[in-house]
Symmetry: C2
Subunit: 144 residues, 2 copies
DNA sequence: AATTAAGCGGATAAAATTATCCGATTAATT
DNA sequence: AATTAATCGGATAATTTTATCCGCTTAATT
């Protein structure tokens, strides 16, 4: 479904979002640990997310990463996915055809349509704050 | 969504299924051409599909690949996908967590549930005959 | 000002996926 | 029996994805 990088990105963003209310900044090591993700690779992903304005990075001693709490309901899952994997998952053709559309559909097109639409709708309506809430409230996990 | 190999596999299987009624056998070159897929790579994929009993291969001169027409409604899209990509797309966790389940869900779990279920249902209920039908009837394409 | 704890960016490495090549085998035709 | 048109299977190559390393910069503390 998503690339490994994107899975890590969603985990990291969710973790940071869950820390946003209490306002504690997390550094790379803490994030990688919390997300069960390789540290160096996570660093690269966080850089991308930071460039795309999804998370905020603070350099220097006692730096790290944060998400301003006013962004929790603004930033959607689709923004995270798009930043790392692009929008192909929910906009592209299931068979990888470049010119597949309603007029000239691939054989899978209409079978896939409602799934793709539901996926897109879910990604675009679920905020990172929603995920953080799931993590804090329910028994939701980011590891193993 | 699917790997490139799996996309090619679905295209090839759909093409062969569309030839099943008229009963004409297709060789590697014809299949690769019809599916806009690299020939040598397609060969490997066809071997896998053949081993898994999804298509039938005939060696020697005037050999090629076929799908017995009585299999058209029996073989499902899920069989093709499982043969090449495994069942992770519709059975695995969206965040790649090994132990994610209803009791210990990842933050995405319940947001994803209906999508995964619908995807699974679609793959398991759509036969390769259905796809072949779409290809023959509608303006459905396998290329570009 | 020096030290220290961070992220940044570029280079590199490892692993997986995608792709090609080619000799061996198979089977139909001549 | 020889030729030819195919798949099969193993080796290898190219590309992409995943992952690591390290020197540089940034900024807080001492």
């Amino acid at each position: 479904m998503f690339s490994k990088a994107c899975e890590y990105a969603i985990r990291a963003t969710t973790f940071l979002a869950s820390c946003a209310e209490s306002g504690d900044r997390q550094n790379l090591k803490q994030i990688a640990e919390a997300c069960d993700a390789p540290e160096a690779f996570t660093a690269k992903i966080l850089q991308t997310l930071s460039k795309d304005g999804i998370i905020h990075s603070i350099k220097g001693a006692f730096g790290g990463y944060e998400i301003p709490s006013d962004k929790l309901s603004v930033v959607k899952l689709s923004d995270v996915v798009k930043s790392i994997d692009g929008d192909n998952i929910y906009n592209g053709c299931g068979l990888g055809l470049a010119h597949c559309n309603e007029k000239k559909p691939c054989p899978l097109h209409f079978h896939f349509k409602s799934i793709r639409d539901e996926l897109k709708e879910m990604l675009e309506s679920t905020s990172i704050g929603d995920l953080a809430h799931d993590l804090n409230k329910g028994g939701a996990l980011l590891k193993r």
